[in-house]
Subunit: 110 residues, 2 copies
């Protein structure tokens, strides 16, 4: 299991378009821009508790999406396979340029 | 663009866990088991129009998820890259068994 902030950053990256604009705002300030709950509360003129509740709910939603779609899990499995592919490929003879390009593209597709 | 039934089958496959059990039921009977709207209506004791409306709404939801997460589009791009990888690999010399296994696993991960 990744450290919580890293995991939330990944999940946010994968599923942010399924959130409301308000949820995206709070999450982005809290996890990407490292604002405190108090700073977000001040910025939006609401209570610290309201920000906290919203972020907790959003975290649960992100975990719920992940439990259904497994985008982060599959991404990690894919990265591992791509790494292995590159390693095995080193041992082969011949023109590997096009193969490496394919592998790079696969990696970028997440 | 894939033919509509094929496309809906794919989208259903990718996003079905984001639907309600009722939506999953109707979609599965209609698209996978080839029931008619009338047969589904009879099965559940509701009007044909209600089944139709529900399925149309679900199709729109699936397209909305796809427009946000692009799971089908990325899947197709990945399949194409994997196919190309296999083709290029044929031209190389050496022990390709482990590489082919990696590629098979990548393909199965969708």
């Amino acid at each position: 299991m990744l450290e919580k902030t890293t995991r939330m950053n990944y999940l946010f990256d994968f599923y942010q378009l399924l959130l409301t604009p308000k949820q995206r705002n709070y999450m982005s300030l809290y996890y990407l821009d490292d604002y405190s709950l108090g700073e977000i509360a001040e910025e939006f003129g609401i209570s610290r508790q309201a920000v906290y509740d919203n972020i907790k709910r959003t975290e649960m939603m992100l975990e719920d999406y992940e439990s259904k779609l497994h985008l982060l899990k599959k991404y990690q499995q894919r990265q591992q396979l791509v790494e292995q592919l590159r390693k095995y490929l080193e041992e082969l003879e011949g023109e590997k340029g096009p193969i490496l390009e394919c592998i790079d593209s696969l990696e970028k597709l997440d």
